[in-house]
């Protein structure tokens, strides 16, 4: 019971924390993000397993996490409210070459971020070539080039 409670608590904590600290936290892994991820995983493991090195403990933790995640996916599909709560909504950042300043400022996305995504996904060169750029709920920026129908 103890193991399940701790796993559940950590899962909830990580979910809420990453939701509260903003969309872009885990989207594209820079070197620093990668290091952060490694350290978080170490810290989590210590809390969950502690001094218990049995196979059973590992199995319980893994089972709990997988089933919690599955359960959450299921609830998200059934309820739009839950989905919006946990995932958020997409946000338009650029409209026909013009960046929407308020949206960029509030979501902490820079021109550079948008242009990088435009180059990487569409091979575009300038802001004016972007028809729409959207900050997806996953944290990535999707770009629709100007010529598309």
């Amino acid at each position: 019971m103890d193991l399940f409670a701790r796993t559940f608590a950590i899962y909830l904590f990580l979910l809420v924390l990453f939701r509260l600290t903003g969309k872009r936290t885990l989207s594209e892994l820079s070197t620093f993000d990668f290091i952060l991820l490694l350290i978080i995983s170490e810290a989590t493991q210590n809390a969950l397993i502690g001094e218990d090195r049995s196979l059973t403990a590992a199995a319980v933790v893994i089972l709990t996490l997988v089933l919690l995640d599955l359960g959450l996916s299921f609830v998200k599909k059934r309820s739009k409210t839950v989905e919006t709560l946990t995932e958020g909504v997409p946000l338009v950042l650029v409209d026909h070459g013009r960046p929407i300043e308020e949206h960029l400022k509030k979501s902490h996305v820079t021109y550079g971020d948008i242009l990088q995504s435009a180059r990487q996904s569409q091979g575009l060169e300038r802001m004016s070539q972007i028809k729409y750029a959207v900050l997806e709920s996953s944290g990535g920026i999707s770009v629709i080039p100007m010529d598309s129908p």
Partner: protein, 165 residues
């Protein structure tokens, strides 16, 4: 149905929800940073908020301890005992010992006697000296923990701690 903001783009954007999310996030950040500051000052152990002293000349002992402990995190009670005779008896509440597993006592007691309600540790000591004793603990129970220590029959020194999960 209001005219679409972005012609041609089928998207789920809900600015009212988005703005609410941003407001909630800002509040959350303030709270989280305040929490971090409190933690830095010892809210979960290891800082000015957590360090405490107990004891008196009358009780013949002084103790430094942490108010906040964490589950399974080793912790030490540092006592200074005044010895009056060649042997020094330190008593420790056994209810406390059940919650917070005893790992080591340094210096090693010559004898440990289990009484009803407390453990008695007997040390050989030089008369008139201030003897430092450290007791290493390993909390195994979450929640409030209360205990007492005493030198022989002298007044008990009570203390309270809290073990975070």
């Amino acid at each position: 149905m209001p005219a679409p903001r972005y012609p041609g783009l089928e998207i789920d954007e809900k600015l009212s929800l988005q703005r609410r999310e941003w407001r909630v996030q800002r509040v959350a950040w303030v709270f989280l940073y305040a929490l971090l500051a409190a933690i830095a000052f010892g809210l979960v152990g290891g800082g000015p908020l957590s360090k405490a002293d107990a004891g008196s000349g009358q009780a013949g002992l002084r103790m430094e301890y942490e108010r906040f402990l964490r589950y399974q995190a080793p912790n030490t009670l540092r006592l200074t005992l005044q010895s009056e005779a060649p042997t020094l008896e330190l008593r420790l509440d056994s209810a406390y010992v059940q919650d917070v597993e005893l790992r080591t006592i340094s210096p090693r007691p010559q004898r440990v006697v289990a009484h009803d309600g407390f453990l008695s540790f007997e040390f050989l000591a030089q008369s008139g000296a201030n003897i430092p004793v450290s007791i290493e603990l390993h909390p195994e129970q979450i929640g409030p923990a209360a205990g007492w220590v005493a030198v022989g029959d002298k007044p008990k020194v009570h203390f309270r701690q809290f073990v975070y999960p």
